[in-house]
Symmetry: D2
Subunit: 142 residues, 4 copies
Amino acid sequence: MNPQKVVETTFHVRYAETDQMGIVHHSSYAIWLEEGRSEWMRVNGSSYAEFEANGLRLAVSELNIRFQRAALYDQRVTIRCWIDTVHSRQVQFSYEVIDAANGAILATGYSKHICLDTQNAVARIPDQWRAILAKAAAGTNR
Amino acid sequence: MNPQKVVETTFHVRYAETDQMGIVHHSSYAIWLEEGRSEWMRVNGSSYAEFEANGLRLAVSELNIRFQRAALYDQRVTIRCWIDTVHSRQVQFSYEVIDAANGAILATGYSKHICLDTQNAVARIPDQWRAILAKAAAGTNR
Amino acid sequence: MNPQKVVETTFHVRYAETDQMGIVHHSSYAIWLEEGRSEWMRVNGSSYAEFEANGLRLAVSELNIRFQRAALYDQRVTIRCWIDTVHSRQVQFSYEVIDAANGAILATGYSKHICLDTQNAVARIPDQWRAILAKAAAGTNR
Amino acid sequence: MNPQKVVETTFHVRYAETDQMGIVHHSSYAIWLEEGRSEWMRVNGSSYAEFEANGLRLAVSELNIRFQRAALYDQRVTIRCWIDTVHSRQVQFSYEVIDAANGAILATGYSKHICLDTQNAVARIPDQWRAILAKAAAGTNR
């Protein structure tokens, strides 16, 4: 089965995600991007919960977000998530946060992840997972 | 050593804790009360981190908060935390959230906790811990 | 149109909502219940965003949650939300958080809200809103 | 008065900030860095609350965080915050998150901010504020 290159997930902005500026607080985007990754993994055949059940975790080693337009309470936002690059021990995801109503880009970002074992030592991404990730990354050309 | 009955911890309201109403979002208080419990345990001789290192956890079984006055960004708030009751498998903490500048009560609350082991089975609170908790609860009369 | 008495909304547990106990942190439920209220308002004809646009807000005056079973990352949870009572200046919502897969109750709760105007003075709930709320509350018998 | 170039603030890691990986969730760092900025403004003579009271806000336009070592519950962390560059409408802060016990770097990051007025239009940073910021940035050489 070919993995789905770009995975989208859509939800309402929660009230608690706003701040006194009247817009969504920037820290909420870190959580949204992660939810984009979770959906990516569900869609591509293996949830991240399974990955962790195998004693591995993809720890975030770098996070970058550029904010272009404010998101508002009750708005529907779509997270678009895809894989940029896969290495033996690392993987990079990229993201767009868009207004689900009109497709306007609210933010873009990427996150780098390093594979750790239960002892928190850097570990190789298991072949099965790496194959899924690499196949998804190949030719991603959103 | 006698445990300190009522333990206080004070900190600034964080910007991310506000919402578009311009005040602190009510869910932040749940986190503040927990920080009050953490401080209680630090002060009374054993951090909660140690408790968990022994394979036990105090899971929250009930949370109640009454909100009286809004808290604002940058304000200094004090969490006052004490133990109401201790049973073999349960403990109840009570709280006041006050304005550190003038002592005005912003919120009051309580939380009930049940002791769980690593299998998530209900467990007796270890004697050593229960002794600390019971001593702290006895005669609490803030 | 008759309001829908019990409104449900379902979503995945987010990774960031877990804590080191391996389960959803209890403060996340406060946010979930609020999302249940937001859905209630969307379904019953008026989003809370509109309510605030009119210069009013329903401030939380009390929150109570009883936790029965742990929620886990990636699990689908359903928030069921309905109105218990409506007064001229106050309204109480009740909630169930259930496992979407099997209907098991994870938590129950209620929240009391007081209507405030832009000056943070207690205000009457506007007739139009109160009519919606009262109609929804009448005969709620989930 | 000379502004303090590098401002530090220290606090305990909160339990709610951890995730099921047993470490602090990466989104918490976004909130910590912001708390570093808040402290920077308190120390250098004007709280961010005042800034907003004047109808201006520094909206985050970019956030970057590199995670080097995990932070743990109950650990004391110090946020070091300083200004990198100041422009007429923008300012960039940089940060280190360090283990307060031994000075080990847990994470580094920067955030770019753009000045917005109450209509969300890009605005010049007021001269008084810009002077404070520029003086603080000049010769920062931590």
